[in-house]
């Protein structure tokens, strides 16, 4: 009790309010369109959007495209995160590599990779592979920078103690750095999944036979706002599920950290 804990106002949990918000928002949206405040040509409205989604599910049309986009997103995400983590480790350990490479990485991260997509198509063709590489190219930098800063922030004392206890490099990596980085990787994945999905969608915008990007691009060319938003809503639902899974996995993997915060 020496330090003493200084309580902060505990947040009162009110399930009722939370459940109400979404229906209220959707109702307001529908009302605004009916009243004429919002132009359905652009925003459509919940009822036709829902009708479209139901129709898509009934005909199985959406499943094929969601799976295509998801496959590209997750494959690209995995590739990007692995490469990013390995490079991040290298950068974290080798002072020289870090000092030389860091400015180039930040500059490269500022380049819109979609402009180089034709080059990817030239080398990898129009299949999903070129879009996977596009997604990976978007994810690799955040993953690298996060892993790198995670290594730099591993508590100096922990490293010293481990070394005193005789941990050599491999031991250090396994017992000290990997657990610390694992936690950071989860948060990286949750942050970069947005970029990964955007990369897959934009890749499909440009030229794809399957994928939600193609569905949305086609809908936009037909001025069908309801289908554009229905496609986006489907993506939102998929993202929400993935995020839920990631959060659970993160919670499980970081038991030691959470208890300390509690």
């Amino acid at each position: 009790m020496a330090g003493g804990s200084y309580p902060v106002a505990a947040s009162r949990y009110r399930p009722a309010a939370k459940v109400l918000v979404l229906p209220v928002l959707l109702g307001a949206w529908e009302g605004a369109v009916r009243v004429g405040v919002l132009d359905p040509f652009y925003t459509s409205s919940p009822v036709p959007i829902l009708a479209t989604i139901v129709r898509w599910i009934a005909t199985g049309y959406v499943l094929e495209h969601v799976l295509a986009t998801l496959a590209v997103t997750l494959a690209g995400l995995a590739g990007g995160v692995v490469i990013g983590a390995v490079a991040g480790f290298a950068l974290g350990f080798l002072r020289w590599l870090e000092r030389v490479a860091l400015p180039f990485l930040t500059a490269a991260n500022a380049m819109p990779r979609i402009i180089l997509y034709p080059l990817m198509v030239l080398w990898l063709g129009f299949g999903p592979l070129s879009r996977i590489v596009l997604v990976a190219s978007l994810v690799v930098f955040p993953a690298l920078l996060t892993t790198h800063s995670a290594i730099r922030q591993v508590d100096v004392e922990i490293v010293r103690n481990a070394r005193v206890l005789g941990a050599r490099r491999l031991g250090l990596i396994r017992h000290v750095y990997l657990p610390a980085v694992a936690l950071w990787l989860f948060s990286t994945i949750r942050v970069t999944i947005g970029f990964a999905l955007a990369g897959a969608i934009v890749g499909e915008y440009v030229g794809a036979v399957r994928g939600m990007g193609m569905v949305i691009a086609f809908a936009q060319s037909m001025f069908r706002a309801r289908e554009v938003l229905a496609g986006t809503a489907v993506l939102l639902a998929v993202i929400w599920l993935i995020d839920l899974g990631l959060r659970a996995a993160e919670h499980a993997a970081a038991r030691w950290r959470l208890s300390e915060v509690m």
């Binding site: 200084y6 002072r95 400015p103 500022a110 250090l172 947005g194």
Partner: protein, 260 residues
Amino acid sequence: MSRAGEPPATAVRAVQAALVAAALVGWEVGARRGWLSAEFVSRPTAVGAVIWDWVRSGYLWPHLVATFEAAVVGLGLGLAGGAALGFLVMFVPAVGEVVEPAMSTLNAVPRIVFYPLLMLWLGLGMASKVGLVATIVAFLGYYTAVGAVREVDRLLLAQVRILGASPAAMLRHLYLPATLAWMITGLRTSVGLAFIGAILGEYMGSMRGIGNIIMGAQNLFQTPQVMAGLALTMVLAAAVDTLLARLETHWSAWRQVEQA
């Protein structure tokens, strides 16, 4: 795992300069020899000629300013707006319970899909590009503010309450400086994002801007112009990043950076 001393700055710069030179020469030779397909990557000499011509003729300035403006203003507004929402979520539990769970899902939504809507509401000029950039970087501002409030030292909180700080004073003297300190590190990673947002916004619909130049050049297979546009974006982003690096050392002088 010997931690060699800090590599001397001059040596690092020399290696960097050598790498850049080697890359340019390699690119030039590769394109000439045909190893790299020149229709898609052009050649440094051609790209340099285009940039020089743009600078000399003054054609470049309005486009450069438009992209810089959209990126920097969008970055500022986005981070500030995101941080404000973060504070709101942390200080008003009712808002927090509703907004917090939605944030990570919203962050994964591809903004490009809503860009036509942004253009409708904010017009074709800089405003819609600023809006696009803001929506991309806002989440960094949000998570930084939430993290700053959640991770602030409970002891400092107690001290400031004892000294009689009102919530507003607490925000000004405790939470804002803490968020700013955290924000600086995140800021540098979001500079790249801001410029990509500006370029994509101009690529979708614009009157000027480097993205506008790239879109027009692509349809004419003018690859040197496309690569010139990309190179300028990277130079601009690197320049802003260098400025932020100097700001970071200045602003966080109080933070003692322990060497691992």
